[in-house]
């Protein structure tokens, strides 16, 4: 009986040790992963960086892979256009809607909107792309562009931005709702008791207090939008020319990577150039993401 018990404890502790070490292995794997990705991308874009300086690659719009010119400026500018436009559309909608949902709306509205947000966040980007082609592209080409007195095929930066805006709305909205919920009630109560109207309280107390949170929600939206690939690839037109207006076609960075993988192995340094674009994407997204997260953590600490 005694022996049996001993055996049991040994087995138990062995199992505990095994389980713990597996947990640790997994944890270190997860933590090392971003470093591995970063180093891998740097290593892979090395051959190109050895022949050209980084700034000459990033700030040149000369994209002729056949003769070894890999200027990424066109693609970066397109990406910035699409992202900024998407945020301009999604930002105000999310801000207003989150105020509405947290301050004014009946509980049942929130109950309806929660699944709506979840489903919007869950829809794959290809579906957004299909929707963009079905609805947004014709809308931009037939209605929006003539309205502004422009000509457009519809496959343009604005279509990409509209589709992207809908895609990032659930992310921004979710964070904004959380941010508004963390603001203590006493603040608005104090403001209301001093005779301010509800709207004044929202404008001068709530939004002011939530401002860092709002900025970081937008930052997270930017990092989402910047890396989105398939949907953007499907609706922006993919023309290698620096765009100068919202109704022109563009060629964002992720689309470049996705479109050119097929032929990249046949042209020297091409794969290196695409890895460099992936690296640029990685770094920009990490910066935006990291700053916004740090901002949010500060906000949570203060309240």
């Amino acid at each position: 009986m005694k022996l049996n018990f001993k055996f049991f404890t040994i087995k138990r502790h062995l199992r505990d040790k095994l389980a713990n070490s597996w947990m640790l292995i997994c944890l270190s794997f997860v933590i090392i992963m971003p470093l591995v990705i970063g180093i891998g991308l740097i290593y892979k874009s090395g051959p190109l960086l050895r022949e050209n300086s980084l700034s000459s690659l990033l700030f040149s719009s000369d994209w002729r892979p056949m003769s070894g010119h890999f200027g990424l400026l066109t693609f970066i500018v397109s990406s910035v256009w699409v992202t900024v436009l998407a945020l301009l559309i999604a930002g105000p909608i999310c801000l207003l809607s989150s105020i509405h949902l947290t301050q004014y709306a009946q509980p049942y509205v929130l109950k309806i909107m929660h699944p709506v947000i979840d489903i919007l966040a869950g829809i794959p980007s290809v579906i957004y792309g299909v929707w963009g082609i079905l609805l947004i592209v014709p809308f931009v080409s037939h209605d929006l562009a003539p309205f502004f007195g422009m000509q457009s095929s519809g496959y343009c930066l604005l279509s990409g931005a509209i589709v992207l805006a809908i895609m990032i709305i659930p992310f921004i909205l979710n964070i904004l709702i959380e941010v508004f919920k963390t603001i203590p009630n006493e603040l608005s109560e104090a403001s209301l008791s001093l005779g301010a109207t509800k709207w004044q309280t929202i404008k001068f107390v709530l939004v002011k207090k939530a401002f860092p949170g709002i900025i970081s929600a937008f930052g997270l939206g930017i990092s989402r939008a910047f890396g989105e690939t398939i949907a953007v690839l499907m609706v922006t037109g993919n023309v290698t020319k620096i765009p100068t207006g919202a109704f022109q076609s563009g060629y964002p960075l992720p689309a470049l990577i996705a479109n050119n993988y097929g032929e990249m192995l046949s042209i020297p340094l091409y794969d290196s150039a695409l890895m460099l674009s992936a690296l640029v994407l990685f770094v920009i997204v990490l910066i935006f993401n990291g700053l916004s997260r740090i901002f949010i953590m500060r906000v949570e600490k203060n309240t």
Binding site: I119, I230, Y261
Partner: protein, 285 residues
Amino acid sequence: MSDFRFIEEKIFRVIMFISTAVIALALLLILASILYKGLPAISWEMLSQTPSGGFYFGKHGGILNAIIGSAYLSIGATALAFCVGLPVALYMNVHLAKRKKLINMIRFFLDLLWGVPSIVYGAFGFGIMIFLGIRTSLLAGIVTVTIFIIPIMVRGMDEVLKTVPRGLLEASLSLGSTKSETAYRVFFKQGFAGLITAFLLSFGRAIGDAASVLFTAGYTDSIPTSLMQPTATLPLSIFFQLSSPIEEVRVRAYASAVVLTLFILFISLLSRYTSKRYQKNKIQF
């Protein structure tokens, strides 16, 4: 003056209501337009056959290769991610429960990873494949998607396990169970409802993502029979069919989009249902 204050509020209330309505309307528009275009084109043939000759010119065949391929890929990836993700989430909340700073750093790290675009994972995976001399295959796709969804799954599970009361941890440890027993027997069961949601959410991500499988899983017309063969996936099948100039093929892309959308909706409903159903297994405090 005081009138203007209320007029301003009224105007903004209307605008705010419209913003909320726009969001709900956008979802309705997406679902409606895809169902409207795609539903008429769905047929049993499409769902039950692989592409035959001339499929991409509008001839016979279906997208079974993509449906099965996507199922293999996402089930494989989610299962692998679960084996890595669950221990990490449990470790963070049981073993590291006292070390708040360290946990916050890990969370920050995971959030960073979570935001990395899937195309970067795809490019990275492809780089590794060239390095190792592997060609596009189901296995490469599974591994890439696994790496891509691990942070999503861990963060989802972590959010759930965070809410497990500390008293439960202390009670379990004081009864003499080891930390790993506490993790798998107590925390796992207490958080089960939420863990399923996190699991299904990652599954939805895995099945819907196109950019990460574009270069790693490849594309073929047949159903893969081994891990080393390339495989078709639903998102890519939609993408390729839609870029065809032929109307019949494009219509089929819409139909495939309906299949994918319905699948995602089903997962979303399922996760809602299961999380409600298992909610009552929780110990109440």
